[in-house]
């Protein structure tokens, strides 16, 4: 009897945890469900204009910017839901089921287990987003003709992953601290919708929209003069730029395409006489600053919440 005393190399243990977690992620019904839903929505977004045009006997015009303008902007709510279903039970679920016991009594440090789990979540995310973006790019090219700036899809991918990682970190921290998947999900949903509702109100109706620059989510609303389309009837910008961490991908692409742009932030003022909202400019910032700050804010939150999740996991005792 030899008795194996030598610990494996760190990379071997780490990859074992990644494999353990990845097999779980790709077999989670919730993850598959959200992915199918995402593909269904992408398909509808691609095909619906063509169907409507055909019904009205109108030709579908070629649009070389379709993919870069619409297809790469994975919506904030989808990113949040994907983050939620991927990691809501990564740690807490193992505590709830008891499968954490055989896992953390193996000769692998808890830090390695944590890093393996988060890496596996990123790989799952990467796989899903690559599939989705390639699908949209192919579909867009087939329906709307040859596309411009397809090389920027990688930037879009990077931005979307960064945005989603923030929500993942928040949900992981909630799960790791509470050791309850239900609490992690509820807290995550509460934070997401709370911030979005607050952001909407603060951004459009107060002078304090700058606060949102430092919060996760949709952020403060702004527009780029000469670039953002303006509704001729209401005078309000359509689309535009946001300081939020959810829109890093879109803001980053806008910056790469129009690096010298400046973003004017505004709020809406209700005009009694005309019974409509009128946009009132608040302040202007270079687009570079908006992008850089969004990325920095996202990174700080990702680091902070991951630290909380890791620390809670590292210190956790398994009494039950």
């Amino acid at each position: 009897m030899t008795g194996r005393k030598i610990r494996p190399r760190w990379s071997v243990s780490f990859l074992a945890v990644v494999r353990y977690e990845l097999l779980w992620n790709i077999r989670k019904k919730k993850v598959l469900g959200v992915l199918i839903l995402a593909f269904a929505i992408a398909t509808i977004t691609l095909v619906l204009p063509v169907v409507l045009n055909n019904l009205n006997n109108l030709p579908t015009e070629l649009n070389p910017n379709y993919v870069i303008n619409t297809g790469t902007s994975i919506s904030g709510v989808f990113m949040f839901i994907f983050a939620l279903v991927t990691v809501m039970n990564s740690i807490s679920g193992e505590f709830e089921s008891g499968s954490i016991v055989p896992l953390i009594t193996k000769p692998v440090s808890r830090t390695t287990v944590y890093l393996g789990k988060i890496s596996s979540a990123i790989l799952t995310l990467l796989g899903a987003y690559v599939l989705l973006i390639v699908y949209i790019a192919l579909g867009g090219s087939i329906i709307y003709g040859p596309q411009n700036n397809l090389h920027l899809l990688s930037v879009s991918l990077l931005g979307s992953i960064l945005s989603t990682l923030l929500w993942m970190a928040i949900v992981l921290a909630m799960g790791s601290v509470s050791k309850s998947s239900m609490l992690a999900a509820l807290a995550g949903v509460g934070i997401y919708f709370g911030l979005n509702i607050a952001a909407g109100i603060l951004s459009l109706f107060s002078n304090q929209a700058w606060i949102l620059t430092y919060a996760p989510g949709s952020g403060a609303s702004g527009y780029i003069k000469g670039l953002t389309p303006i509704n001729p009837q209401t005078g309000t910008p359509i689309g535009g730029v946001s300081t939020g961490t959810d829109t890093i991908a879109a803001t980053l692409i806008t910056y790469i395409l129009h690096p010298a742009s400046e973003v004017t932030f505004f709020r809406l003022e209700f005009l009694l006489g005309s019974q409509r909202f009128n946009p009132v400019d608040l302040y202007t910032e270079p687009l570079f600053l908006v992008v850089a700050r969004s990325i920095a804010v996202a990174l700080v939150y990702i680091f902070a919440f991951n630290f909380i999740a890791w620390y809670a996991f590292k210190r956790a005792q398994v009494a039950e």
Binding site: M1, R4, W24, S99, P102, K106, P107, S109
Partner: protein, 318 residues
């Protein structure tokens, strides 16, 4: 003899409840050591401290001389641990799980290929390797738990109630498995509330109650220390009336029963009185053919110890 497990004044509290109270435990290497106690005695808590799932509030726990408090993968690389009613991820297949755990132990691909089929066969899961664990019964998960604990050819195997969830045949198989593991030179630390299991499998035993050690030694010595030998069974060449009367006169003898040439002498002492008995028989003209010291069963000892501990506690609270 070197120690596989050593705890010194180990204490673990859950709020106001002291689950383990200044427990001092010594488990020698290459022994099969039973850890016996009623439900809630603190057995699982002690084991959880040993494998790093819980941090002690006071005291020290060591495995092969290395402290276990905190996240110590080095220590865990020498242990195989079967948790009480083990739970594994349901989304993995049995083979996948052992393969991944094998990687965590640093087994090469070849080692895993060699080891895994043997383990599945050993624990009676051959043919079910590629089923999802979600489809395994409790008993099958228990068997898988034993298999994963033996993956790394450990120096110390810690089993927490390994017979829970098993059918009678499975229980016998597990006992045989533990005996086999012990023969291969591993140290086995077996926590159980099943007295016959410990008596059949273990050479040593520690009995705890409410987190406190009541007795710890070889099973024979524990039985002997607590109540002393119950009886001496002696066979002589020729049984005479004088011989029986002389034996009855001995101060530690409570009763002498006879049958043919056999004597069953009931005793009331903790000392080894065999020389005195032997001398009395010889002086009475008898010749001894055989002499056996018959001790109490572990069950009797256990009941006596726990009963005494509860009596003491009752006295304190009154």
């Amino acid at each position: 003899m070197s120690l596989a497990i050593e705890t010194v004044n180990l204490t673990k509290r859950y709020g106001r409840l002291t689950a383990v109270d200044k427990l001092t435990l010594n488990v020698s290497a290459n022994t099969v050591h039973g850890f016996l106690g009623p439900n809630g005695a603190g057995k699982t808590t002690t084991i959880k401290v040993l494998v790093g799932l819980l941090r002690p509030d006071e005291g020290v726990a060591r495995i092969f001389g290395q402290e276990v408090s905190g996240d110590k993968p080095d220590v865990r690389s020498r242990i195989g641990y079967v948790p009480e009613l083990p739970k594994f991820p349901k989304h993995l297949k049995g083979w996948e799980l052992l393969d991944i755990y094998g990687r965590m132990y640093g087994l090469s691909q070849q080692e895993r290929r060699d080891q895994l089929p043997k383990l599945f066969e050993l624990v009676g899961l051959k043919g079910r390797e590629n089923d999802l664990i979600g489809k395994y019964s409790k008993g099958m998960q228990q068997r898988l738990g034993i298999a994963q604990a033996l993956l790394n050819d450990p120096q110390l195997v810690i089993l927490d109630e390994p017979s829970l969830g098993l059918d009678p045949v499975g229980m016998v198989e597990v006992r045989e498995l533990i005996k086999g593991v012990a023969k291969e030179g591993m140290t086995v630390f077996l926590s159980s509330h099943l007295l016959f299991e410990v008596q059949q499998v273990c050479s040593h035993v520690t009995i705890i109650h409410k987190g406190v050690t009541l007795a710890s030694d070889t099973i024979e010595k524990v039985s002997h220390k607590i109540r002393g030998p119950t009886a001496l069974q002696i066979e002589v060449t020729k049984l005479t009336k004088t011989l029986v009367e002389n034996l009855r006169k001995l101060p530690f003898v409570t009763e002498v029963k006879t049958e043919d040439n056999k004597l069953n002498i009931m005793l009331e002492t903790r000392d080894d009185i065999r020389p005195q008995v032997s001398e009395t028989i010889t002086n009475s003209g008898g010749t001894i053919v055989s002499m056996n010291l018959v001790g109490h069963s572990l069950e009797e000892v256990f009941v006596q110890l726990v009963g005494k501990a509860e009596e003491k506690e009752g006295g304190k609270t009154q």
